[in-house]
Amino acid sequence: MENVISLNDIVVSFDGETVLNNINLDIKDKEFVTLLGPSGCGKTTTLRIIGGFIQPDSGEVIFENKNITKLPPYRRNVNTVFQKYALFPHLNVFENVAFGLRVRKLPEKEINKAVAEMLELVNLKGFEERNVQNLSGGQQQRVAIARALVNKPKVLLLDEPLGALDLKLRKEMQTELKRIQQSLEITFIYVTHDQEEALTMSDTVVVMKDGSIQQIGRPVDIYNEPQNAFVADFIGESNIIDGIMLKDRLVAICGHEFECVDSGFDEKQPVDVVIRPEDITLTANADEKIHGVVRSVTFKGVHYEMVVDSSDFSWLVHSTKAPEVGSEVGILFGPDDIHIMNKMKG
């Protein structure tokens, strides 16, 4: 598949503060890409650079093999769904969606047809004459999506579009967005700080932190093979323990040796060891290498979340069975459950 957008060595700073530090990103055609990271990581800035609302200090934006770095937003074949929808309050639903087509001076007949199709796609048939200010958040969201998509952009940019919706509606819209993306076969670039949203919808997830890309990969890979402790912690919950690599496939954690599957580290190299809470098994046998006392048990619906204090670490454990608070338990995990990572700089 061909790259539809490439960002090459993008650097942006505001008031002397670096916001994006050397961003390199290739986005393939028809891909659903999510930029994921905590607030202030530069994900929205990256999106705005693709949209043309911010000029990078250096680096270039390539769109279908053409350099569009200097092109203003109104000359780019991308459209944006803005964070708070940014619908035009003085226009009704129909006119909001028709806006881009009117600017391009399409004949009335074509406009009517295209808008009707779009409203059908986002399930807003019959809302044409409604005032956008009297719509619910989810409906406004759909209008914003229709308004962008009616222009048949090559790429749709979405800036935390579901942020203002409640949980249930957000889940619905996630499925809906994915359906729209697949039926129209266009590239979606989606910005969110919600890791679950990112994992659910994306083909590719780009994890960002402090203006740099931490990891790019499929959701499964990002979850199972996080490249560093930050990614591991941000994508789902994790136990991150200091460890020392003794040799290939052998690591020391909490003073005990454990077999693992990672290799290629230096001998005696300090590393971050990541173990997912759901990969830990608790046993009644308190004679295991690592054992501790159950400090708390919280019911989370599908599973219980427990904190187990061992002599030098507090373990987060997810399990469908919960021991008594205060009981002594053994902590078990297998070689496959241990993920070894280079220590993060800084």
Partner: protein, 273 residues
């Protein structure tokens, strides 16, 4: 306590409106007496419309008010656009400076403008008249327009200017198509405010008008210096009624745009819940 506060409010209102009420009543009085009511007549209103001096200055006043409010609405709106794009510090500074002419005593503004015009009169054969009066009115109108338009930028739906560009409009077209409709209520109320201020300004006009460009307030003032004719009561009544109508229209319009905003806010509050 509640009764007391009602009484207090009625007293205040009474104090404010009794003089105007008396004036209106006496504008229909048959004699020139200002203490005895002797019958109903529209004679003074009829006479008023035969008085050429009054009609001419009424014409002047309206022309000045229309010109000054249109020009200052344009200038003030452009200024507000610029100010809204400024940084925090710049915005505070410019808005502070904008407020000075409003707080500044009119007499100071009036005298200083007069001195400025005298300075130019000596150098460039500039006469006191329509132009000087117009400049003076624009000067005191602009800050009110800025004050009325500025809040609209703050209340504006975020990112709509960018959204229009995203959908293919150039910067100027984006402004006309989506920003202007949003700030229009502010522009209109700024215009109406400028218009009413121009209409009844006396102090500044007194210092900056020439013999050919007397406005109504100045004419009334010079008429009262000779003898107070009931024509003036009639004239003041008409002005009062016009101003009340303008204010009511302005308030209704503001209420309407507020209601629309309120619905929108209620809606988004629900969503967040």
């Amino acid at each position: 306590m509640k009764k007391l506060s009602k009484l207090y409010v009625s007293l205040v209102l009474l104090f404010l409106y009794v003089p105007i009420f008396v004036m209106i009543v006496f504008s229909f009085n048959t004699t020139k007496s200002r203490s005895v009511l002797s019958g109903f007549t529209l004679e003074w209103y009829a006479k008023l419309f035969e008085n050429e001096l009054i009609l001419k200055s009424l014409g002047n006043t309206i022309i000045i008010a229309v010109c000054a409010s249109i020009i200052s609405t344009l200038l003030g709106t452009l200024a507000a656009i610029g100010i809204s794009r400024m940084g925090k510090f710049g915005k505070a500074t410019v808005l502070g400076i904008n407020n000075i002419p409003i707080i500044n005593p009119e007499i100071v503004t009036g005298v200083s403008l007069m001195l400025l015009f005298v300075f130019f009169k000596a150098r460039m054969s500039m006469e006191f008249g329509f132009t000087t009066l117009l400049i003076a009115h624009i000067t005191f109108d602009v800050p009110y327009v800025v004050l009325n338009v500025m809040p609209k930028f703050r209340q504006m739906t975020p990112h709509i200017y960018e959204a229009a560009q995203d959908l293919g409009c150039g910067p100027f077209k984006s402004f006309i198509k989506v920003v202007l409709p949003e700030i229009m209520p502010g522009i209109i109320s700024g215009f109406l405010m400028a218009f009413t201020f121009s209409l009844d300004d006396f102090v500044i006009s007194y210092f900056t008008s020439g013999p050919t460009s007397q406005t109504l307030p100045i004419t009334i003032y010079s008429m009262t210096r000779r003898k107070v004719s009931p024509e003036i009561n009639a004239l003041s009544t008409i002005i009062f009624v016009v101003v009340v109508i303008v204010l009511v229209v302005k308030n209704i319009m503001e209420r309407r745009s507020l209601n629309v905003k309120k619905y929108a806010d209620d809606d988004s509050a629900e969503i967040i819940e």
